[in-house]
């Protein structure tokens, strides 16, 4: 019997001929990532146990994305602690505030995350790795065991295969599809599958999805409790990876006779622009049902829409236009490399001319109310990964989600707007 992509990646890194869903394995990941928000907790716990070294300082990426612009004393103290921790551990690849950017974006752009890679992360949105054909597994607070020993027990997940049929209509984007997939994966969703701790493996007509689109499609299943998302890498993506690879890599594809818990299909050819209603990214609704809802807070960025192409999508609509009166817009590039490219290619001017604020690369407002907050009674539309009550601060705000195009179109009109009017 064949293996799924996740089984193959876990077999390779566990030095086993085969891994199958349900096995407990101890993989040796290609690297380990930890973000700025949890370094202190992990280091203090390990120090208390007398563990002062990490398993391999060259294979730990410390990224700074949750608190980049220190807006309070606590954030500044955390940043200072993290710098000392990086020194004490001898971390070679420490990306301090202002360097690197979003941990679930820039490592792909810089060739850390490659087809076939396995890495462990404290944060669940590491599932973005699936966009390029890699697997990353969230360890939560148990990242301390990984940092100390280089591995941790891992339950090989089951996989669910989702075959995409048809072509996405003009003006409908990956985030729109993601919200609908989230809805169908939900408790009473049409797909009828339990996605908890499963890998959602995409198949079918995937050539229409760029790397950025694939990464966008990773975020909503993650919110529905998928442990991973996987796209078999296309020739174009292999080429993208090859020119920036930090190490040799071997792409992984599922076997034709791999065991899936379920196989589902979805025809995308009649999809319309969507929003996710306040409460969760799976609360997909046709945009038309809420068109005209006034908004004052808009934001483009996050794990879900942090690639350069997402910024281009928003800029394409904002070019030559101004934000509506009373609307503020926060643009958060996924990487410092993207910020530099925006300068070179004129996107920075487009955003500034429209009246948007471009802040340093990182999570931005999506990191639970650290920057770009909202007030009670305000409405927001953004590309955040999640929109639970209070995500951007005030619990009385209404948080809608949309594609970068929808967010930009809405910022221009001051109300939730179908982006096709501007395309």
């Amino acid at each position: 019997m064949g293996m799924t992509a996740a089984e193959k990646i876990l077999a390779r890194t566990s030095n086993l001929p085969e891994a199958k869903a349900g096995d407990i394995v101890y993989p040796r990941p290609d690297f380990v990532m930890i973000h700025d928000g949890v370094v202190r907790g992990a280091k203090e716990e390990l120090d208390a146990l007398g563990i002062h070294r990490v398993f391999d300082p060259e294979r730990v990426l410390m990224v700074s994305d949750h608190d980049v612009v220190y807006v309070n004393d606590r954030a500044a103290a955390r940043g200072a602690y993290n710098r000392k921790a990086a020194e004490a551990w001898g971390i070679k690849h420490f990306f301090d505030a202002g360097q690197g950017g979003h941990g679930h974006i820039f490592p792909t752009e810089r060739g850390w995350v490659l087809p076939g890679t396995l890495y462990f992360d404290n944060d669940r949105h590491c599932t973005n790795a699936g966009g390029i054909g890699a697997l990353a597994i969230r360890m939560g607070t148990e990242i301390n065991r990984v940092l100390a020993t280089g591995t941790n027990w891992t339950l090989v997940p089951k996989s669910v295969q989702l075959t995409i049929k048809g072509k996405m209509p003009h003006g409908v984007f990956a985030r729109d599809l993601g919200f609908v997939i989230g809805k169908k994966l939900g408790p009473d969703g049409d797909f009828g599958v339990d996605i908890d701790y499963r890998v959602l493996e995409f198949a079918g007509e995937l050539d229409q999805f760029s790397l950025a689109a694939r990464i966008s499609l990773c975020s909503t299943p993650t919110e529905m409790r998928a442990i991973g998302v996987f796209f078999p890498p296309s020739a174009a993506i292999l080429e993208y990876a090859q020119v920036r690879a930090q190490r040799p890599f071997t792409p992984v594809y599922p076997d034709a006779d791999a065991r899936y818990e379920a196989k589902i299909e979805f025809d995308v050819s009649t999809l319309k622009p969507q929003v996710a209603l306040p409460g969760g990214p799976h609360l997909a609704a046709d945009l038309a049902t809420v068109a005209g809802t006034p908004v004052s807070h808009t934001y483009v960025g996050s794990c879900g829409s942090g690639m350069y192409e997402d910024l281009e999508m928003a800029a394409g609509i904002l070019k030559g236009r101004k934000l509506a009166r009373g609307v503020r817009m926060i643009v958060v590039p996924g990487s410092e490399d993207s910020t530099r490219r925006m300068t070179r290619e004129g996107l920075l001017d487009v955003f500034h001319d429209a009246g948007a604020m471009v802040i340093p690369a990182g999570c931005g407002p999506c990191a639970s109310g650290r920057t770009g907050l909202i007030d009670d009674g305000e409405n927001s539309i953004s590309t955040a990964v999640a929109n639970g009550r209070g995500r951007f601060g005030a619990k009385g705000a209404q948080l809608y989600l949309g594609s970068p195009a929808t967010v930009a179109a809405s910022a221009v009109t001051g109300c939730i707007t179908d982006p096709r009017e501007f395309l």
């Binding site: 030095n15 007398g50 939560g140 607070t141 339950l155 089951k158």
Partner: protein, 209 residues
């Protein structure tokens, strides 16, 4: 015996017996220690779909990153059953319906472990289960329909190592999937922190690879 247990539709049902890779660090660990795998106590029954935030501990315990058991204990089940911690006794067993502990948080399990309680669930999201094991809690999941076989206050006996469940009050016996062998050492050692402490001690003693 473990191989014959019924398989159900959930994550942990796919735990297959070996093909588990050996983990060198803990070779020689004595699994025949005196750890108390059998709990005898009263049933405390909860329903389906209990969120960790609010349902197990108040959200401020989670967002405030409170991990000291003594801080958390007074607030365990506070929003649904104030004073629970004053009435429970070591050995009591929390029995839940499906989907217990949503939200991959650990604070409540820290308190349950410190109070000497056990937890058996019809199902848990995998990351909730992982968090419970990581806290060293005696926990079973995929216990199909278990909440139909007991009521709050019943006298229960549960062997977390073998998966045996006895309701002495109602004279009901069931077998459920036990804790996988690979995770027993973590629970025996008191959770992830205890495991790391042991690992470090082994390493310092020259016992680690």
């Amino acid at each position: 015996m473990r191989q014959t247990l019924a398989r159900v539709f959930s994550v942990l049902s796919v735990f297959s017996v070996p093909s588990v890779a050996a983990f060198d660090f803990l070779k020689g660990y004595d699994m025949s220690s005196e750890f108390q795998w059998v709990l005898k106590g009263r049933c405390y029954k909860l329903g389906h779909d209990v969120w960790h935030a609010g349902g197990v501990v108040p959200n401020w315990i989670i967002t405030g990153r409170h991990f000291d058991p003594q801080e958390i204990i007074p607030h365990l089940f506070e929003e649904t059953d104030p004073g629970f911690h004053t009435r429970c006794k070591p050995g009591d067993i929390i029995v839940t319906g499906r989907n217990f502990g949503m939200g991959p948080k650990m604070n409540g399990y820290i308190a349950m472990q410190a109070l000497g309680l056990g937890l058996i669930c019809e199902s848990m999201p995998f990351l909730a289960y992982r968090a419970a094991v990581g806290c060293g809690l005696r926990v079973l999941t995929d216990c199909v329909n278990v909440s139909e076989f007991c009521e709050t206050g019943d006298e229960l006996e549960v062997n977390f190592r073998d998966g045996f469940f006895i309701n002495h009050t109602k004279d009901i016996r069931r077998e459920y999937p036990p804790l996988p062998d690979a995770l027993m050492e973590i629970v025996e050692l008191g959770g992830n922190a205890g495991w790391l402490k042991h690992w470090q001690a082994q390493k310092q003693a020259g016992g680690a690879a």
